[in-house]
């Protein structure tokens, strides 16, 4: 989904602030794709991602009066989404940890990995596990940069951090991913 042109939004926002249902729906249509993509890629669970999108838009619409146009609406909305997604994942993680201990399956240990399993499926599984173990800010930065295609300037604005912090978080995320996935890639290259 292409981001809306900046000049599309002012009139729309004014109408949305007045409670115009059509304008609210238009804002939703313009931005739901990106918010859902971020939520889904952060949590990997469609139902949870939909719940997080719902909470993001309800919160954003309730706070619309406080949006003064200092930043683009989509940046502001991403900031709301960031808080909602991180809180949601934290809460879901707490429940998940109580229910099932997360076990990583080291590659090559035959008692854990059946030989018939597709190596790509193992990679996907290990990527998910590695991503889930990243510190949340580093994970968010990696998802925004490598999966959502944002620049460091955009990430810094969305996360409310400096450009250097965004770069440092990405570097840290990559270092931790390398550490977690080294055995997988070494096994694939043999």
């Amino acid at each position: 989904m292409n981001p809306p042109a900046d000049d599309e939004e002012p009139g729309l926002l004014e109408r949305a602030k007045r409670g115009d249902q059509t304008a609210l729906r238009s804002l939703y249509d313009l931005h739901v794709g990106r918010v859902f993509s971020l939520a889904y890629r952060m949590c990997g669970d469609q139902q949870l991602a939909e719940d997080l999108v719902q909470e993001t838009f309800v919160k954003a619409f309730r706070r619309l009066d406080g949006f003064r146009g200092d930043a683009l609406f989509r940046t502001w909305l991403h900031r709301v989404a960031r808080t909602v997604v991180l809180n949601g994942i934290r809460t879901a993680g707490r429940y998940r940890r109580r229910e099932v201990p997360l076990e990583l399956h080291p590659i090559g240990t035959q008692q854990h990995v059946a030989p018939a399993i597709d190596p790509d499926a193992i990679l996907q599984e290990r990527l998910a596990a590695a991503l889930d173990t990243l510190p949340e800010r580093a994970r968010l930065t990696l998802v925004l940069h490598d999966m959502e295609g944002h620049t460091h300037e955009q990430i810094a604005t969305i996360l409310g951090v400096t450009l250097g912090t965004s770069k440092a978080q990405l570097s840290r995320a990559r270092m931790l991913m390398r550490r977690q996935l080294r055995d997988v890639f070494e096994a694939r290259s043999v």
Binding site: Y28, L127, R137, R174, R178, F185
Partner: protein, 221 residues
């Protein structure tokens, strides 16, 4: 970083590009849920409906009345702040000590002040040098508690750019500090020291909370 690391970064980026393909979303169904929940929102308080200048007049009048009321009250000595020894036996205000061990509903500014104070102490101790394993073992849980507190403050931060920048930098440095202390890696330690210097963290915390160590913290953010 060596060539192999670069190659791995490329491979991970390529794998991530096709990872968790976003499923099709039922836009209309989700909109119905949002519309329903948004429609159930409690009506705004009447004061929020006032134009900005009228709200300003109302607030100014309320503030004036409060100042007049305060001025005519007979003077009383301020209540002493309860101080209890912390893990190291150093007396700290009871409010901050309780923040470590239980969930306390504390106003944001007080929680922020306590966390800044604690983080300032941690960074100061770290930059002076961790001489022994025991010292590192003592510091690590404090770093992790401070990191958790900073993350909670980030999520609830008001729209203050300087505050968000400071908390973001603290979060990054405390994460690195946690790794450096736990691993004892001199390279990680050097990176943390560099980050503390480059971000001018001690100076910025001191500027945000200029009366560190006193019984009251005056926040400038």
């Amino acid at each position: 970083m060596n060539r192999r690391d670069d190659e791995m970064d490329d491979e991970i980026s390529r794998a991530l590009a096709t990872f968790r393909r976003v499923p099709k979303l039922d836009d209309d169904a989700l909109w119905s849920r949002i519309d329903r929940e948004f429609g159930e929102a409690p009506p705004s308080h009447s004061w929020r409906m006032l134009p900005t200048w009228r709200a300003g007049v109302v607030l100014a009048a309320a503030a004036s009345l409060a100042i007049i009321w305060y001025a005519v009250q007979p003077g009383t000595a301020p209540a002493p702040i309860a101080r209890v020894p912390d893990d190291r036996g150093v007396p700290v205000p009871a409010q901050w000590a309780s923040m470590h061990n239980s969930v306390v509903l504390t106003p944001y500014s007080a929680a922020l002040g306590g966390t800044l104070q604690q983080t300032h102490e941690i960074i100061t101790r770290y930059t002076r040098g961790i001489e022994s394993r025991d010292a590192a073992a003592t510091l690590l849980p404090e770093v992790r508690r401070a990191l958790g507190a900073v993350r909670l403050l980030m999520d609830a931060a008001p729209e203050s750019n300087s505050l968000q920048l400071l908390l973001g930098d603290l979060e990054l440095v405390l994460s690195q500090l946690s790794f450096a202390v736990a691993s004892g890696s001199p390279i990680a330690g050097a990176l943390v020291n560099q980050a503390i210097r480059e971000h001018k963290l001690l100076e910025r915390i001191a500027a945000a909370a200029p009366v560190l160590g006193a019984t009251t913290i005056l926040l400038r953010i």
